[in-house]
């Protein structure tokens, strides 16, 4: 069943339909919030609040895609988070990432795991240094895999603004990561190709 059908049922008060929408979007929405605000508890609060508001306001959703609308709600909550003076938080350096096992790949040895954790730490720190407008653009693209037109819809900005924010964000992240050539060796030019 696609989003449109589920939204139609949810608008008629069908909680199970809305539950299916939660199941579908909880991971990407939570991870968007997590990369935006940095802390897992704050991110979970934002995702929960976004689902709750979406459930309450589902009657107002007409033809717009549910996904864009939901992420728009969450993006606004992230902005509110910073407006309230909350800062970007960094996840406690526990073993959370050690639980993430890429599928079909042998469990990395401790050295590899430590290197991966260090890469992730530096990337998260680089994202955290971006201003929120650039940060959310690059997160929606590179964490959530949204198309530029979807991002424009979520952020309610022109396509050109999306391109610009993503480009500047990537340049800033690249600049940060280039300070750690031991962790992020530059790619060879001959590897160049379009994704």
């Amino acid at each position: 069943m696609d989003d449109r059908e589920l939204v139609g049922r949810a608008r008629r008060g069908d909680q199970e339909a809305f539950t299916q929408l939660i199941v579908q979007y909880q991971v990407p929405l939570y991870n968007m919030a997590l990369r935006m605000v940095g802390g897992p508890d704050d991110a979970a609060d934002i995702a929960q609040d976004a689902f709750l508001r979406a459930w309450e306001k589902i009657q107002t959703l007409r033809d717009a895609p549910f996904k864009s609308w939901l992420f728009q709600i969450a993006a606004n909550l992230c902005y509110d988070h910073f407006r309230r003076g909350r800062r970007f938080g960094v996840m406690p350096d526990d073993d959370r990432e050690a639980k993430v096992v890429p599928l079909g790949i042998a469990t990395p040895d401790p050295q590899e795991r430590a290197e991966a954790n260090e890469r992730h730490r530096l990337v998260k720190a680089a994202i955290g240094r971006l201003d929120p407008e650039m940060r959310i653009a690059i997160i929606l693209r590179d964490v959530n895999g949204m198309r530029y037109d979807e991002i424009a819809s979520v952020l309610r900005v022109p396509l050109g603004t999306v391109k610009s924010r993503i480009a500047r964000a990537r340049a800033a992240v690249q600049d940060e990561l280039s300070r750690h050539p031991d962790v992020f060796p530059s790619q060879r030019p001959e590897d160049a190709h379009a994704d």
């Binding site: 939660i22 991971v27 042998a106 030019p189």
Partner: protein, 264 residues
């Protein structure tokens, strides 16, 4: 637009080129340029490297399920909020899962998952000795039953509602010298493996595999565990999460979690 020489592509164009978000003509123009311009190729690789570094971040599992009120309220928002706060008592639908995946766009290439390692019953250190599953874990709708003192949860495969796992314990609170009975059944596939982990924070203990029985609807399982014999760390009392993973014959897993508490 002609695939012509050469004005240098802008930063925005190079970045959009990485995402294949340029018009076809512009995509070809940038490709032609970077093929002959080492400086732009280096800039492009830098942007591509930044994008790949971010895409390499693991998708993480939310620390708790997300809920909405059990009954849709037509009343004012504050009433709904109150209803939500109280939803733990009111019950309703809870959502949980053990799924992580890479960005959702088709352009992204692989799925990955959060998984607990299973090492045959010894102490569990996250990530150590893990056998990586072969297919992605499934998100599942979860219903939790707190009525009549039951501690029970059901996780449903959203792709196939006949495939589900129900797990219950004989109590939600156990004395440290007591025994915890974990039982349940998995339907939709009579084969597969059940593993149980008792976790607090990032420390967990693999419990011995429960006894299983194949039946017509699926796989029944039950295990009894003397808590005093488990290698828990001090303080042994406190709140834990019981995680039961059913990996079916296709290597797809459903994960059910139940809160349990151990008291002195």
């Amino acid at each position: 637009m002609p695939i012509e020489p050469r004005t240098e592509p802008t930063l925005e164009e190079l970045s959009a080129y990485v995402d294949a978000e340029l018009e076809t003509g512009d995509q070809a123009r940038v490709a032609a340029h970077v093929a002959t311009c080492p400086d732009c190729r280096a800039r492009l690789e830098g942007l591509r490297g930044a994008a790949h570094a971010i895409r390499g971040l693991p998708m993480e599992t939310p620390p708790r399920p997300f809920t909405v009120p059990a009954r849709r309220s037509s009343a004012r928002p504050w009433m709904v909020a109150f209803g939500w706060v109280g939803s733990a008592a009111v019950a309703a639908l809870l959502i949980g899962f053990g799924l992580t995946h890479l960005p959702g766009a088709a352009s992204n290439t692989a799925a990955r998952t959060a998984s607990f390692s299973q090492n045959g019953g010894a102490n569990y250190a996250p990530g150590a000795g893990a056998a990586a599953p072969t297919t992605e874990l499934q998100a599942g709708a979860v219903t939790r039953d707190k009525t009549l003192g039951a501690n029970q949860v059901t996780v449903i495969d959203p792709r196939n509602s006949s495939r589900r796992i129900t797990v219950s314990t004989n109590s939600a609170v156990f004395p440290i010298m007591g025994s915890m009975v974990v039982s349940g059944y998995a339907t939709g596939d009579r084969a597969g493996k059940i593993s149980i982990v008792l976790r607090r924070g990032s420390y967990a203990v693999d419990l011995a595999p429960p006894a299983t029985t194949q039946s017509t609807p699926g796989l029944a399982f039950s295990g009894s565990y003397a808590l005093s014999r488990l290698p828990l760390i001090d303080p042994r009392t406190g709140s834990y999460t019981l995680t039961v993973t059913w990996t079916d014959s296709a290597g797809v897993s459903l994960i059910a979690e139940l809160p349990v508490a151990i008291t002195g």
